[in-house]
């Protein structure tokens, strides 16, 4: 498969076209077509995962040809250690979320078509190494998201959808400007990220600072980093389950991925200078603030949303630490957050489908009625707490080990949040699943086979990565170590002298 990346990106597009051309009679075919597409995608992702060469930092599975020569825009796809794990994650989460969507019973064709478009957009972001291409995918993914939240969402869906759209567009236009700046004032006019990174030292430090901050805001909105995070709870609360899964599982990662791919690789000097504040401090705020807000939520899904904000903070703190441990841990955390949060949102969806509300106070003693569900939730919650032996533990430990060597104080706060996290998760678990049974929910069915099918694979991955993190870390380490070296080896002062 010489064009693996093109395939993996455009299979969903093909699926979208097929779905749209389905006659109304066959509209149930939509779900199966998308399932097959997502399945193929997952297979290709596994193939890439298997054939990925972990020893080199160069881009692999490269697909490249000139697109707009006059403006040095090329169709350039490739994966390296930074992105390969994300490709895997995206394929996985999309596959899961297709099955999580089977409950959708309104305008299925449109729904699955948009889902596929979203899938393609996300995959494209992770595989494109041409900044222009990257940006195209980055924005394309907004449209289906808007409709998926807006049409199939909850009561306040219109507000949530437009808020998400406006907020993220604001971010991406800043990225657009920064991109053009990089294009014109670099060593040569190009959008090729690898080339841009190679000539990183060419930008004056002042220029780097400005562009860095513009890019940071653009990406921070996606992460989402405090104080740009308020779109997330709304979006999550209104979005249908599968979309929440994708939102939390993949979309948020784009922010941190972008920071690694662009801010770190192309603007090392500014990164070296600004990371402590914009990534370190804000990341720590994310961690603590998210956890505290989660504690006070009364809506189950909103609580999970805030916890996911909190967990993304570890990623920021980790990449800000400039240590091999921290940055490895951060990317691993991106992966783990993807799987674990996906589980959590599926689990929230399970109970919402049955009870049609998410008021934590309204539940109680569900463990008696739905033991398997309760058990699965317990598993996911403890995974979210970073319980040793489960995947999140490894990533958080690596992040904190790394961060401790750079910012001990922040690390203490971040580590202390483990207590708060345990606090709100256990309290929630207690209020929903334990204690006397609320008779109102008598007769609720336990996990259906389909729900189980969406949850179990994730659970297994969480378990495996807990005892054998090498599966993912092996992919990352080389590239990230190199990236980290690049940043550390370009002290801001040297650049300043250079110009």
């Amino acid at each position: 498969m010489s064009h693996a990346l093109t395939l993996i990106t455009f299979i969903p597009v093909a699926a979208m076209v097929i779905i749209l051309s389905l006659p109304p009679a066959l509209k149930d075919g939509a779900k199966w077509i998308s399932a097959v597409a997502a399945g193929l995608q997952l297979l290709i992702a596994l193939w890439i995962f298997h054939h990925f060469d972990t020893t080199t930092t160069a881009a692999q599975f490269v697909d490249k040809f000139a697109w707009m020569p006059t403006y040095h825009i090329s169709y350039f796809m490739g994966v390296d250690g930074i992105s390969v794990s994300m490709v895997l994650l995206t394929a996985l989460i999309c596959f899961i979320s297709v099955f999580a969507s089977f409950g959708i019973n309104r305008a299925e064709k449109a729904y699955y078509a948009l889902l596929m478009m979203l899938d393609a957009g996300m995959m494209g972001v992770f595989v494109s190494l041409d900044f222009f291409l990257f940006y195209i995918f980055w924005e394309v993914m907004l449209l289906p998201m808007y409709f998926l939240i807006g049409v199939w969402g909850g009561p306040r869906r219109e507000y949530a959808a437009i808020k998400f759209f406006l907020y993220t567009l604001l971010g991406s236009v800043l990225i657009l400007l920064a991109m053009l700046g990089l294009y014109f004032y670099g060593a040569q006019n190009t959008f090729d990220m690898t080339v841009l990174a190679a000539n990183a030292s060419h930008y004056t430090i002042g220029f780097q600072r400005v562009v860095w901050i513009a890019l940071f805001i653009g990406f921070a909105i996606k992460i989402p980093a405090f104080p740009f995070h308020t779109w997330l709870p709304d979006a999550h609360v209104e979005a249908p389950t599968a979309i929440s899964v994708i939102l939390a599982g993949v979309l948020l990662k784009m922010g941190t991925y972008g920071i690694l791919r662009v801010n770190f690789a192309i603007l090392p000097a500014a990164t070296h200078e600004l990371a402590w504040l914009f990534l370190g401090v804000i990341g720590t705020i994310n961690i603590v603030y998210g956890a505290m807000c989660a504690m006070a939520q009364t809506d189950y899904k909103k609580l999970i949303a805030y916890s996911s904000i909190s967990h993304m903070g570890y990623v920021m703190l980790g990449i800000a630490s400039f240590t091999a441990a921290g940055i490895d841990g951060a990317v691993l955390q991106m992966f783990n957050h993807g799987t674990i949060t996906a589980m959590l949102f599926i689990l929230v969806g399970v109970i919402y489908d049955r009870a049609h509300h998410r008021e934590i106070a309204g539940f109680g003693g569900l463990a008696q009625q739905m033991p398997i569900y309760a058990g699965m939730t317990g598993f996911a919650f403890f995974a979210g707490m970073g319980l040793p032996g489960l995947s999140a533990f490894i990533s958080e430990v690596l992040v904190l080990i790394g961060a401790w060597q750079t910012y001990p104080l922040m690390t203490v706060f971040a580590a202390a949040t483990a207590i708060l996290t345990a606090g709100y998760l256990l309290w929630t678990y207690q209020r929903i699943y334990l204690g006397p049974f609320n008779e109102k929910y008598k007769g609720f069915a336990d996990l259906s086979f389909r729900e189980g099918f969406t949850l179990v694979p994730l659970a297994i991955i969480v378990l495996i990565l807990g005892v054998y993190p090498h599966a993912i870390l092996g992919l990352l380490d080389t590239s990230l170590a190199h990236l980290n070296q690049v940043v550390l080896s370009t002290p801001a002062s040297a650049i300043a002298l250079l110009h």
């Binding site: 907020y167 995070h229 308020t230 006070a296 441990a325 207590i419 256990l426």
Partner: protein
């Protein structure tokens, strides 16, 4: 020590309970439904028993080795080899972990068997054994992990199991609250522990040997001597202090002991296994394991000793006034753990570990005895409703009494051997204050233990009639276990006899290699060695014991002294405080819990109304501006027009009806614009 014998059997000791747990969780419900509870019992107990046998086998294999090469490594697969870490999933068996393994699998196995009887009526029998097995597994990982992260895996794993088992009867809300409390308070300790690990790793990295493999740490720790740490302490002091802070959480020392009494909400076997015999001793084990670092930080050692002593005394006093049969034992556990830490703190590592072991015997026996009592009392736990049970359940009574004598430190029972040693060492190493506290504590211990015995087994029955009718000796599965543990409490201490009696201490020699770092040796050796003094002090201690017994006897058996007299003393204030555990829970509630919750609510409000408010405000303002500009277009400019036309008194234009809407307004707009433009230009020019 540098060339550990690699053998591939330790892993089975660890894995067996895991298999049991896995089967129980995945298929337990089905098995129980199809084949009945028996198969669960066989499975649950079988794996642990098997693990015990393997452990024994290893024990003899170890004895066969030369003392200073009694180290066995079993490495499974690489775990984290990134970011400077290089740690494997590997197990490390040395005399210390050997002892722990034997205790965990041995006592643990007994308690498993006991549970088959005790939990027989419970419908989710499989779940109970699943968690019990998982606990055993986690505890073994904690004990055998060859690096500190693996140890931490077990450390948190036992926490998880304890959480799940405390809240085992989750339909009763308070039980689950107790579980949460246990887990969260433990997390506070864990925070300190991980910080210790982070800084230790960073420090070792600074000296060029980044590692967290315990034996490696032991090798390179001396290089950290004198390295500055945080908060103005040396690195070693900081690390060890943090480690000890972690221990106070797991092992229920001041100030984090508060979760343990509440943990009694769990089924009694759980209290026996987790909250008396094994898990709570993890802290002690960890300190002993890291002895080579603690001895480098005298300050920390003192802290350990003092906190230990304080806890021993403090918890004992609370024990006096409890009426719940399990609560008394809970506080006594806290107190006994205090003794162990005191032992470690003064430098008597062996004694500490020794007491750990004996305590596992007699405290398990006590708890299980109490369980047996509760069982026959139909769930009643209040001692004031008991009495005279010795007639109804002789075996329970006998074993309970044996264990009581053991904990009281009556020679030659197990407790005497270990506890007396600790108290003596405290004096010998010059910690007179600690010694004093331990002395008094010993006396009080005897008092509340005998108070319990008398209230429960002596006098006449104070419960209801059907309870009395229902009273019976527990089934064999329970009784036999009690007997075994009773015997252990009697003879278990004979492996290390105080010097002033006889020179027989195989236990100490066995553990020798673990505490063999030169500095440790030095610390251990230091202090006075005089059998005379030791004997004298031993006698003093004994008199304390007798005293304590006497008071209890007078108060609760002969009833010649009325307890009320004491409880009423000083207007009942001291009694009230003791009864309410010095209001520590309430104190934490008001200083920590409530403020935190209030704060989170405030933050959530802030997030919703301020941060999100700003976002929405921006939107609103934009729209508002748009609206205003719209107004300007259509009205203000028009208004200008009218004004102007009034000025020009164009009455005709007003009468004649050919009006032109807001065109003039537009034109005014242009004029204004041109003016602005010229102005801008003027500004640009200058």
């Amino acid at each position: 020590m540098d060339h550990p014998v690699s053998i591939s059997i330790v892993r089975y000791i660890v894995v067996l309970p895991l298999i049991g747990a896995a089967i129980n969780f995945l298929a337990g419900a089905w098995l129980q439904k199809t084949f009945g509870k028996r198969i669960i019992s066989v499975l649950g107990c079988g794996v642990v028993a098997l693990a015990f046998l393997l452990a024994v086998r290893e024990f003899f294999a170890m004895l066969a080795l030369a003392p200073d090469s009694r180290f066995m490594l079993d490495s499974l697969w690489p775990w984290i080899h990134y970011g400077g870490l290089d740690i494997d999933i590997a197990f490390w068996l040395d005399p210390l972990s050997m002892v722990m393994t034997l205790v965990v699998t041995g006592v643990g196995g007994l308690i498993h068997i006991y549970s088959t009887g005790y939990m027989h009526e419970d419908e989710s029998y499989w779940r109970f054994f699943g968690w019990l097995n998982l606990f055993t597994f986690a505890m073994l990982v904690l004990v055998l992990g060859d690096n500190l992260w693996l140890m931490f895996v077990g450390w948190e794993g036992v926490g998880l199991c304890s959480f799940a088992l405390i809240g085992f009867w989750y339909k009763v809300y308070p039980n689950t609250t107790a579980g949460n409390k246990a887990f969260i308070v433990n997390r506070i300790g864990d925070l300190a522990f991980v910080i210790a690990l982070y800084s230790l790793f960073a420090a070792l990295g600074a000296v060029g040997h980044p590692t967290l493999v315990t034996r490696e740490v032991a090798k390179y720790a001396p290089m950290l001597a004198g390295m500055p740490g945080y908060l103005g302490m040396t690195m070693v002091t900081f690390v060890t202090l943090m480690m000890f802070a972690g221990a106070t959480g797991k092992s229920a020392q001041i100030p984090l002991y508060v979760w343990l009494p509440d943990a009694m909400a769990g089924p009694t076997p759980v209290s026996a296994l987790i909250h008396a015999a094994t898990m709570v001793t993890a802290g002690v084990y960890m300190v002993a394991r890291m002895n080579f670092m603690f001895v480098m930080a005298p300050a920390t050692m003192t802290v350990v000793a003092v906190v230990g002593g304080l806890t021993a005394l403090f918890a004992a006093t609370i024990g006096i006034a409890q009426n719940d049969i399990k609560k008394v034992l809970a506080y006594s556990t806290v107190s006994q753990l205090g003794y162990m830490f005191a032992g470690l703190g003064v430098g008597a590592f062996t004694a500490g570990v020794f007491h750990l072991m004996t305590h596992a015997f007699f405290k398990a026996c006590l708890f299980l005895g109490a369980g047996s009592v509760i069982h026959s009392m139909g769930g009643e736990q209040d001692m004031r409703k008991m009495g005279g049970l010795r007639h109804h359940m002789p075996i329970t009574f006998a074993t309970f009494l044996a264990a009581t004598l053991a904990i009281s430190g009556v020679p030659p029972f197990a407790g005497f051997m270990s506890k007396d040693e600790i108290i003596w060492q405290a004096f010998a190493h010059g910690h007179t204050v600690v010694w004093g506290m331990l002395m008094v504590g010993a006396g009080i211990t005897v008092f509340y233990m005998f108070r319990q015995v008398y209230m429960t087994f002596f006098g006449d029955f104070r419960g209801t009639h059907e309870q009395e009718h229902h009273l019976h000796e527990s089934p064999p599965s329970i009784a036999y276990v009690l007997v075994v543990l009773g015997l252990l409490s009697v003879f278990g201490g004979l492996v290390k006899i105080p010097d002033f009696i006889a020179t027989f201490k195989p236990f100490e020699t066995f553990l020798e290699p673990v505490f063999s770092s030169p500095l440790t040796r030095q610390v251990v050796e230091s202090g006075i060695h005089s059998r005379g003094t030791e004997a004298a002090l031993g006698f003093v201690t004994f008199t304390m014991v007798v005293l304590g017994w006497l008071v209890a006897d007078l108060m609760y058996r002969q009833k010649t002294i009325d307890p009320e007299r004491f409880s009423a003393a000083f207007g009942g204030v001291p009694y009230n405080w003791v009864l309410n555990k010095y209001f520590v829970d309430e104190f934490y509630d008001f200083t920590v819990v409530r403020p935190y919750l209030a704060m989170t609510r405030a933050l959530a409000w802030f997030d919703l109304h301020v941060i999100d408010g700003v976002v929405n405000l921006v939107a609103t303002v934009t729209v508002l501006v748009a609206w205003l500009s719209g107004l300007f277009d259509s009205y203000v400019v028009d208004g200008l027009v009218n004004a102007a036309s009034l000025v020009t008194l164009d009455v005709g234009g007003r009468l004649r009806k050919l009006q032109t809407g807001s065109i003039n307004g537009y034109l005014y707009g242009i004029l204004a614009a041109v003016m602005v433009i010229l102005l801008v230009r003027a500004m640009l020019r200058v």
